[in-house]
Symmetry: C2
Subunit: 137 residues, 2 copies
């Protein structure tokens, strides 16, 4: 069963919820391999490309940076290697997300504090402005 479908770049983009320009961008930076071309110089993708692009997009959606994704793809391309390093990257990513959440939570508390200072009136009397102006800086 030689039923491998072909995709043009727009098909691939739709199938992965990606902008066409982004697909070309991934190719340019070497994340996505250069596909063969039609006679009219159109890129022609197969299932493998679709698979790989899905992987990239899903990892991006989880916040992985492109250089980390590059590493992940490198590992995926050597399936006999141990999986530990992939696990490690995933855990590092979790730690990063945790740190961001902690940051934003602190921020939110500060913002709430600042916003609660306002009791109406003019800008001159506004304690928000004071809160933003003062401080340790």
């Amino acid at each position: 069963m030689d039923m491998h479908k072909d995709y043009r770049i727009g098909d691939l983009a739709r199938a992965t919820d990606t902008a066409v320009e982004t697909v070309r961008y991934y190719e340019r930076i070497g994340l996505l391999p250069e596909p063969p071309r039609t006679e009219g110089n159109y890129r022609l993708y197969g299932e493998a490309h679709l698979h790989r692009l899905r992987f990239i997009r899903r990892a991006r959606a989880l916040g992985f940076h492109l250089d980390v994704i590059r590493d992940l793809l490198g590992m995926v391309d050597r399936p006999d290697q141990p999986c530990a390093s992939i696990d490690q990257l995933a855990r590092a990513q979790m730690a990063e997300v945790d740190a961001k959440i902690a940051d934003l939570t602190r921020l939110r508390a500060e913002l709430a504090h600042v916003a609660n200072q306002c009791h109406g009136g003019t800008v001159r009397e506004c304690r928000i402005v004071e809160a933003l102006s003062g401080g340790e800086g």
Copy 2:
């Protein structure tokens, strides 16, 4: 008491924990007014500049975008206006931070799920890879 000190750009930068280039950048984009210069063409700042830069940096630290900060500064410069619009910007900022926290929390859960799939072995068997490849995309 004519005791207004002057600051050179490096002093200002140190006093607000800002890079010198960033101070110049804020001037270039019109956030910080152009200060007078010395004979040798050095920027010479006063307390007002210090105050304003502190405001900018503090707002940035709370995650406000520069264009919002521009608006905030515009309001601060009209102290007789009502304070409500400032309050509104602060609350909008809170909402944005809340949304980011919610996003990241969802992300964290997904990442935990993905990372927990790994039980050692080779990349070929790694469920993390599967989890990243599969899906609705």
